[in-house]
Symmetry: C2
Subunit: 136 residues, 2 copies
DNA sequence: GATTTTGTAACTGATTCTGTTACAGGATCG
DNA sequence: CGATCCTGTAACAGAATCAGTTACAAAATC
């Protein structure tokens, strides 16, 4: 339902974490994800803006700025979905109806709680957990 | 990010709950949501298949099968997103790479926990809570 | 029998998503 | 210094999804 950005971003970070000494090119990573290198560079750009990795033009590879145990999946989620709400609310309910007038506030409250619960759970899981599961 | 089906479905149920004696037509409900009546009938159909409302061809209106306090937002979520996963996982990671080979299982585990946390929170909120917020 | 309504299929335009091409500019190495 | 490799980013394309719409058969009502 939600797009695969979080999925690919975690894949990228897993590769970086598992080859800490190598400088993995976007082409190499794309080979593991099986997609186009530009897809990797786009996501790496989001991770960089969020401060999760460093990378620079011309220099191969990206480097984690923190240990995997300090990178939560919420950090990654926030990096690739910056500022987006989980649930959409329909735009223009009818203000001449009490339900229509108040439904957006009400849904905001409900949805905010659900989204927060999901984020709390993502915050409990880290890239170190991912690595453990991958290499167990 | 997620589409507005849950949002509109809760709007529909709120109207039904707040006019328990009237037979609200899809056109009336569409007037409050400000959309097309077919959009309402489509969602009402999903709610009917899930057993949350009854309705039948020719007869105006839909009727809740349970009291609002017994209808959780998870019931509504399941009705309109039957069987869909919250997060997408990229299709064909490279099996010749240990990360690629195991990433789908790993992500499944992570995402399942996050999705379940979100659903647990939706299950804690009911249509009665919605009504209270709407009419407080 | 005329009218109203639901249920559902089919289509449309807008948007989003993933993949792709293209290229400017930084880094590296002979 | 020039060739090569790489990143970052813009721009575009096809596929998929979404919300809205038209159309109509069949059921209910008056």
């Amino acid at each position: 339902m939600i797009n695969s950005r979080l999925s690919v971003a975690i894949h990228i970070l897993s590769l970086l974490a598992s080859h800490p000494r190598d400088r993995l090119t976007s082409e190499y990573i794309a080979g593991s994800v099986q997609t186009n290198p530009v897809v990797i560079r786009r996501l790496t750009g989001m991770l960089r803006k969020a401060g999760i990795v460093t990378s620079s033009p011309g220099t191969a590879g990206a480097v984690l700025t923190k240990a995997p145990v300090e990178i939560t999946l919420l950090d990654v989620y926030d990096a690739v979905f910056a500022g987006e709400d989980l649930f959409s609310i329909h735009n223009t309910p009818n203000p001449d109806c009490q339900v229509g007038r108040n439904i957006q506030d009400t849904l905001d409250t409900h949805f905010e709680r659900a989204e927060q619960a999901m984020k709390d759970e993502l915050a409990r899981q880290t890239l170190a957990d991912t690595m453990e599961h991958l290499f167990a």
